[in-house]
């Protein structure tokens, strides 16, 4: 009897959790496959179609007005923003991994004066809310000629990714016994060689996890993309998607849902793929939320 009651409670809890997680997701999923006359229907579309996905990649949309800036703009296909977002994220991840793994190695292996200050500064940078940097970074990028440039945006993203990656990788490297490197050094490796040949391969799961987290951070950035990008050739996905809202009303729900699905599926998939490590990542120092 008691067992049955417990099962019932667990079932109810599972149902509530599934409903809570899936009610907004379901809506976008079904709308992205709906033909135009069915986009506001509650149930699954009767005539599911891939038209919306075909459209966002090929059909250029009509002119629309962005409300906040009162800026007239022709919204292009998703191709350019997708390419821009990928370009920025891949480059930012690459630079982050190179710089952060070396810095994290240093913080996990060496003892020297000032190390405490360095770790505190990196931790500080990690938890620091980026909106405070909106104004100075914009002014600085304008002076450097990197305003409205994907390179400038990529550089700004390093403010998110490097402290986070350094902090997390430090935790991973600390879990790898130092004796392995010492053995390699006895066999004639230099300190740096022992790091590259022994520690890095052993930390591979950690490196992949951190790279994916950094990728998602860069992919989802709205703060710097909003203030640093100004022409539609440079827009990333978050800015591109903003054009679907016109005067507080959704324009073209089908294509918006398809765009959101394309833009959200990649990070969600990467995240689920490393689900096992997410919790460890959180313990080592998590993603902002």
């Amino acid at each position: 009897m008691k067992q049955g009651k417990k099962k019932l409670y667990l079932g109810i809890a599972a149902f509530l959790l599934l409903f809570w997680v899936f009610f907004p997701v379901y809506w976008v999923l079904k709308t992205s496959f709906a033909p135009e006359e069915e986009v506001w229907g509650m149930g699954l579309p009767h005539n599911p179609t891939l038209q919306n996905f075909r459209d966002i990649f090929t059909v250029r949309r009509g002119s629309m007005v962005e409300v906040t800036g009162a800026m007239l703009s022709i919204s292009p296909t998703i191709v350019t923003p997708l390419r821009n977002t990928l370009f920025v994220a891949v480059l930012a991840v690459f630079l982050t991994m190179v710089v952060s793994s070396i810095a994290a190695f240093n913080l996990s292996r060496f003892a020297y004066r000032g190390k405490r200050i360095v770790s505190s500064y990196i931790l500080f940078a990690y938890v620091f809310p980026p909106f405070i940097l909106m104004v100075p970074i914009t002014v600085a990028m304008r002076r450097l000629g990197l305003y409205d440039s994907l390179w400038g945006l990529m550089f700004a993203h390093l403010a998110y990714t490097i402290p986070f990656a350094t902090y997390m990788l430090r935790g991973y490297f600390m879990g790898i016994p130092q004796e392995l490197e010492e053995a390699a050094q006895v066999d004639g490796c230099s300190r740096f060689q022992s790091f590259v040949r022994i520690t890095l391969p052993l930390a591979a799961p950690g490196l992949v996890t951190v790279a994916i987290f950094s990728f998602v951070l860069s992919w989802g950035d709205v703060v710097f993309a909003t203030v640093l990008l100004n022409t539609q050739d440079q827009y990333t996905l978050p800015i591109h998607i903003g054009f679907f809202l016109w005067g507080g009303e959704i324009v073209d729900p089908g294509r918006l849902a398809a765009t959101a699905l394309v833009a959200g599926l990649i990070p969600a998939f990467l995240y689920i793929a490393i689900q096992r490590f997410v919790q460890m990542g959180l313990v080592a120092g998590a993603v902002k939320g």
Partner: protein
């Protein structure tokens, strides 16, 4: 400390130097620059002149400053509270042993795995007058509402933030729960403690350290959340969701393109964040 040790120390510094250089350029230098700018007067097309504390006087005299502070508190505290409750409930639930737990654990992090701007798009559909929000209201015999109107905008965007952010609490609490030794519960059982007693006297106290870290981090990030208000309401209607990040953005880029004033604004609220960061980081280290 001889000469040799200092040189040796310098050698170790070279490893961390690239990271410090980049972080200095993208964090410390902009911060100092903002600090410098907040004391300047910068008319367009003319060189900057020293303005003393004029920008700060303007900020502190402006009702907008106090309004945005109030809005930020009304946004962040309820959001963090609800996220903590949901996170704890789900962590307790998914810490039980039952068939299908692994799948549910994977599903539970989906909201967190989606970038926040995607979550905002999901809720555009929920909050549309024809959308799922009003469908659910009708289902329980309530009248449909305008979700992002003056009256409802704040709770509505809090819900967006909560939906995205609660798995962070769940993950933290689950890790905390798993680190509590089972023996404690077993001996409590032998002593005749009810499961409620066990929860109050074992689970909650042992979860406290994790609780404060997670809450501190989340409070800071929720107060600094630019994405949700920007994508959902843009600070409106009638400034009802004008939190600090949106106010900074508006002063700097929309109202008068006044960088010094926006910098002064950011510098004026910086101490709040520094205190929060200090309190949280002290526990993290």
């Amino acid at each position: 400390m001889g000469k040799r040790t200092i040189l040796f120390d310098l050698g170790k510094w070279t490893y961390v130097f690239p990271a410090l250089l980049v972080l200095g350029l993208v964090l410390l230098v902009p911060l100092l620059f903002a600090f410098w700018m907040s004391f300047q007067h910068m008319p367009i097309g003319r060189p900057a002149t020293f303005a003393g504390v004029k920008n700060f006087i303007r900020i502190f005299q402006c009702p907008l400053f106090y309004h945005s502070l109030e809005r930020t508190i009304l946004y962040a505290f309820p959001a963090v509270g609800v996220k903590a409750v949901i996170g704890l409930a789900v962590a307790l639930f998914l810490n039980q042993k039952f068939w299908g737990r692994g799948v549910l654990r994977g599903i539970a992090i989906i909201p967190y795995a989606l970038p926040l701007f995607i979550v905002c798009v999901l809720f555009w559909f929920v909050y549309d007058y024809r959308g799922i929000g009003n469908f659910l209201l009708r289902l329980v015999r309530l009248r449909p509402i305008r979700w992002l109107s003056y009256q409802y905008a704040m709770p509505s965007i809090i819900l967006v933030n909560v939906w995205h952010g609660w798995p962070f609490f769940y993950l933290g609490f689950l890790a905390g729960l798993q680190s509590i030794p089972v023996e404690l519960y077993e001996s409590a059982e032998i002593d005749g403690a009810s499961s409620f007693d066990q929860f109050v006297h074992i689970t909650l106290p042992l979860l406290a350290p994790v609780f404060w870290i997670v809450c501190g981090l989340s409070l800071m990030w929720t107060m600094g959340d630019f994405v949700t208000p920007k994508m959902m309401t843009g600070g409106g209607p009638a400034d009802v969701t004008l939190t600090i990040p949106i106010a900074t953005y508006k002063i700097a880029f929309l109202l008068g393109l006044n960088y010094p004033l926006a910098s002064a604004y950011a510098v004026a609220i910086l101490p709040i964040f520094v205190v929060l960061i200090y309190l949280t980081v002290r526990r993290l280290e």
